[in-house]
Symmetry: C4
Subunit: 271 residues, 4 copies
């Protein structure tokens, strides 16, 4: 526990995985900065008019990011107690995907699509969200969405049924000559319509098709209200749960009492 | 009650209509799997590039599904006490529609539209939703929508009036030469606009028409809030109704205790 | 008070303006039916393919509706105590507009636009909404919207400012050559974008314009949440107010007590 | 404190910055009127068909507004105690931007874009919102949005990540030949899709691209529910905070009384 190597590993761990110390905070902010810059570089590199003149510049800067992220990746493996668990975790894979494309590009030619994989670095930002007040906000949102999982599943089963049935109906009514070439394409149209996106690339032409489309849109009105209501309700419940008096019972020291509680609801002693 | 035939019917009933036993659960999961597969087959069969090369394969697989669902249909009729009530029920008709098109296809030629009817099999999925925690979620959603029926009806009467009036107005303002060829078409446009779908197939051309369209869109902003508000409120009410224990304290007889409460939070006596 | 004419007027009043008696209820349902039919006739008459072959039929049926509504209009004037107040009221004007176009059409030629005015008959449906449980639902919705008037006004002032500022910005950035021909047209585009309608008739072409459009759309995400939140909150409050115990104080007989109130909050006597 | 100049400054201050006196109220209403008129003039001047014939009229009216707003600007500087703080404040800069373009136009030719800057006058309207009941409504909305700042930030970080990742995915799947020319353009498309705007200027062509687009749209369904839920919850909380009297009963010292309560609803003693 006292070898210099172990002390180094421990310090590394504090810097990389915790945000309490000055060094840890600085590390997080630097990393956030590097991630945003590297994602920006990937995005700009894809623009033809920019890439044409600065391709060498982007190649170089990409290697700078790759090397920096590689050092970080190795540092994470070194400092953690169970490296294998980290490597196979979600963020471990994302970290690997953030550096792999550059190394693979050395061996493979034309691996252009691989470059876009680097954009997954963006996901690493979520790791930084542990900073400050955003944790509790993120936790609240995540909790609400998890809480309403069953309701949202039921909602999506209903939506899928509706969209598939309506898509097949429009396929029969409008037919192949009006752009509704297959049931999958009609379902694609039904989703575009019911989510109120409305690209306008496929559009009903027959009066009957337009009538059905009108019904679908009006249905979509009430349907869009359902997930909103679900999330609003679970957010309210979640907010209240976190708001609930943090008063602990002096006898059994359990928490979660209502603000107007006079006696502990678990053991009955006065609060 | 003890003839082998009756015992067979009873066992069949337990498997098909209940989800408590191992066999019933397995039956539901298999059925869910078959329904999804058969719907997928109908969808893929409609894609020209797929159907061209595999039409024989789809014909065969369709007969497999038809025969399996026919056996299931007969089993349901046999096992139930009042077969006529089942056959004429909503799900009875859906079950029949799931197998009928294939048999009718033997006698009729060119019954292509009939094939799409098979997609109604999708509706059978709702029968499986009785599984697990989804029942209560579905019940909650259904209850909320039923509860807000009167409000949603009033809302839709208001929407219909608005959309018909605005459609007629645009028909007069824009006129036939600008694509607003008839009042039904103008109403179709008004629905596209007020639901924020916005295909862009019909679009106002005159300054006056654009001005009215702007007003409609901004109106739609507040209007879309109404069903959301309605559903959110009724979901909140429904959630609370199902949540709060109706247990009264035996000492002070006050209610409103949490489901996990052991002692009255007002007077401290055991519940 | 006892002349036959007065008794006739009184009975007429009961039938037309009240829905308690059998006759009044029948009158309302018949009227609803006639309004819907006459609106349908106006809508269908505007469809070229229908009007071409049945123009005479529509002319005749229109006169039937006009005469029936004229009789109703006269009956309303006769039966009411203050005819002038009725004639100048909102529904009085709507009733007049429902019959006027047909009579004016006798004297004026080419009064085609006038025909569309008849669609305002649709508004008369709101008078029938006094039937059944819909009254309280309509009252609740109307109350909620009225209650949130100040908030919605502030919201719209903010939206107008945003939309005008962003419209002018896009007019400068995109310019006349890209379809943003004038500031009003740019504002029209900004409204289409921020309300998520998205026709696609005007679309940014420059990278800078697309960037600003992206910002506007993401802004619209949070903005659309505001009216929904406002309406949801006022609906909740309104629902609670109507839910509140209708218990009257035995001493001062005032209502509006909370469900958990033990003493009257106005006079202090026990409830 | 009693020199005529100081008294003049004081009266000016009362008129310009306060809305309690008759003169102050009249000043606010006049200013509101002038702002709306001047913004309307800027908007109309940009319409080619109007500007062609009335350019001289707009030039003159613009100078009238410039001179009036200049007088107001000077009056504000004179009447306030710390003129520098006002000049460098947000509204001070907006006030300057409202008059500067006209003066700059005297020296620079072709400063057409500058004209659009004048539309920022619109922002001055927010200063007038201090009138009447709108203050509290605006305060409530502003408070709610501020309160949910952390949640909305987390939400936007998630949206950015999603939109960038999905944009890059579509860039790879659809490719440059189908209109997804660069990652920024694909992100622009993803924002158009997930916010349900749906212009239709860029649209997936490949089956795979359409499949991903369908997933994105359905995702957008739940995503749009999140900000609505956030704002609804914070509006509810904010409304309650401003509503419930914090008055405690002098006898039993319980709180939660309605604002119109005269007696404690729990023990019946006078509040």
């Amino acid at each position: 526990m006292n070898t210099p190597w172990q002390r180094f590993r421990q310090r590394l761990h504090t810097i990389i995985f915790e945000a309490d110390t000055w060094a840890g905070r600085a590390f997080d902010v630097t990393l956030l900065f590097l991630i945003v810059l590297s994602v920006l570089a990937v995005i700009l590199e894809s623009v033809p008019s920019i890439a044409r003149f600065h391709s060498q510049f982007f190649d170089r800067i990409e290697w700078v990011f790759t090397i920096l992220f590689s050092i970080e990746y190795v540092a994470r493996i070194i400092s953690i107690r169970q490296p294998i668990r980290y490597v196979t975790s979600f963020f471990g894979l994302v970290d690997l995907l953030a550096i792999l494309p550059s190394y693979l590009g050395l061996f493979m030619f034309g691996a252009h699509e691989l470059a876009a994989v680097r954009i997954l670095r963006m996901l690493r930002i979520f790791r930084i969200l542990k900073l400050g007040e955003y944790t509790s906000a993120a936790a609240l949102l995540a909790y609400s969405l998890r809480e309403s999982r069953a309701k949202i599943t039921v909602f999506f089963v209903a939506i899928f049924t509706l969209v598939i049935t309506l898509g097949a109906m429009m396929y029969v009514v409008e037919g192949r000559s009006n752009g509704f070439e297959s049931i999958p394409l009609s379902i694609y149209w039904a989703v575009i319509t019911i989510t109120t996106v409305g690209y306008g690339d496929i559009v009903p032409s027959t009066p009957m098709g337009k009538f059905i489309a009108t019904i679908i849109m009006l249905l979509g009105y009430v349907i869009i209200a359902v997930p909103t209501g679900i999330v609003a309700v679970s957010l309210t419940t979640a907010s209240k749960k976190l708001d609930i008096s943090t008063q602990a019972c002096p006898n059994c020291s359990r928490q979660g009492h209502d603000p107007d509680a006079v006696y502990c609801k678990y053991c009955g002693s006065a609060l």
